[in-house]
């Protein structure tokens, strides 16, 4: 049963992504509103994949990626970045920091489900 951590400050997007993720059979979704909240959730719950926005208050998605990759307990968790930043250099930057996939908004739900399933099957 995969546990999916959705990190997004916008309640609308958070609800939309969680809604889509619950359609993956047997999945469990936990939500966080920013990077700090995500790290707090990770310390108490085991996540199989992280879906994170970039632009968030308190701690942004890229900082979260670097902290997760630097922590031996979480470093192998796949991270998918979901963001409005659609430029190629933004994608490259996120991938260089350790993200596993990059999906620009507005998201196509089917594409997101496909990406998540693909990342989960690699584990």
């Amino acid at each position: 049963m995969p546990t999916i951590l959705v990190v997004e400050d916008s309640p609308t997007m958070r609800q939309l992504i969680s809604f889509a993720m619950r359609r993956i059979p047997g999945s469990r979704v936990i939500e966080a509103t920013d990077g700090v909240d995500a790290l707090k959730k990770l310390s108490s719950e085991k996540a199989d994949i992280i879906l994170a926005d970039i632009n968030m208050p308190v701690m942004d998605g890229l900082k979260l990626v670097s902290l997760v990759r630097g922590n031996s307990a979480y470093k192998d968790i796949p991270i998918i970045i979901i963001t409005t930043e659609g430029a190629e250099e933004d994608r490259k930057k996120a991938m260089a920091m350790g993200a596993d996939a990059y999906l620009p908004k507005p998201i196509q739900t089917q594409e997101l489900i496909r990406l998540v399933t693909q990342q989960l099957s690699k584990r």
């Binding site: 916008s10 309640p11 609308t12 997007m13 609800q15 939309l16 809604f19 889509a20 409005t84 659609g86 430029a87 620009p104 908004k105 507005p106 196509q108 739900t109 089917q110």
Partner: protein, 273 residues
């Protein structure tokens, strides 16, 4: 002499009989050969008949197998077509499902609060995250001042929008006719004219237009509109309008209620003195 002649005669007769015997044996051998040949012929004919029967049987079997193969091919083709149809239907249903989920979430969020500021924030979130707009403004019609008042914007200055009058350009037409406007130019072109956005959506309560959402440009990755975008525009036209309007009324009435309450408490305090 007679005895000698008799012996010779008998020898002749014996020779004659021997020759006849030889002739008979030769005939017998020839007949035997002919019969053997005939038997071989008959055996061959019998084998050929058997083979022909077997061939006929196999041919019949092959024909049946071919018919069966054709029927299986036909069935396979039918099932394949059916599968393709089901796959297409599944994709359509999945897409429809996703679209409905988007619309449900957007509408749920819009009506999840009566806080005016929060409603505006949600409208902005929907325009950025679900539609993919980069530069846009939400404007409401001030009936008293007869002008458009920007209540939220992104990537465009309020000063630029403040200069737009209700009768100006595309915004004026949308305000007057209450119909959404979509520019025929490619989405990436965008617009720099505050009065003529790329997309303009009326904010309507029934037929009454209370304002507009003007989108001037889209995110680089947004190349075209999908069906759900038009549904979202329709949803925004109706639901955002009612959500903004009702939250504004609620916030105003809350404020007035508190003012009256404070006033009454002040009066009560004075009467006690």
């Amino acid at each position: 002499m007679d005895k000698k002649r008799g012996i010779l005669k008998k020898a002749d007769e014996f020779l004659q009989i021997f020759k006849q015997g030889e002739e008979f044996t030769r005939n017998l051998l020839s007949e035997n050969e002919r019969l053997r040949f005939r038997i071989a012929e008959l055996e061959e004919a019998r084998t050929q008949d058997l083979n022909a029967a077997k061939i006929r049987h196999y041919e019949e079997h092959i024909r049946m197998l071919k018919d069966e193969l054709e029927s299986l091919k036909e069935r396979f083709k039918r099932v394949e077509t059916e599968n393709r149809n089901f796959e297409q239907k599944y994709l359509l249903v999945a897409e429809e499902n996703n679209n409905l989920a988007n619309l449900y979430v957007a509408s749920y969020q819009l009506h999840s609060t009566l806080d005016y500021e929060e409603v505006i924030k949600i409208v902005v979130e929907i325009i950025i995250n679900l539609i993919g707009a980069e530069r846009f403004a939400v404007m409401l019609m001030d009936e008293r001042l007869e002008k458009l008042v920007p209540i939220a914007s992104e990537g465009i200055s309020t000063a630029a929008i403040a200069g737009v009058f209700p009768e100006d350009g595309i915004i004026g037409t949308v305000l007057k006719e209450g119909e959404s406007y979509f520019s025929e130019e490619p989405l990436q072109e965008g617009s720099d004219d505050p009065a003529s956005p790329s997309v303009c959506i009326p904010l309507k309560i029934k037929e009454h237009v209370i304002g507009v959402i003007a989108i001037y440009s889209f995110l680089v990755q947004k190349r075209s509109f999908s069906n759900v975008d038009y549904e979202l525009f329709n949803l925004l036209a109706g639901h955002a309008a009612t959500a903004i309007f009702s939250s504004r009324l609620y916030t105003r009435s809350e404020r007035e209620f508190r003012t009256i309450q404070n006033f009454l408490e002040l009066l009560k305090g004075k009467s006690k003195q």
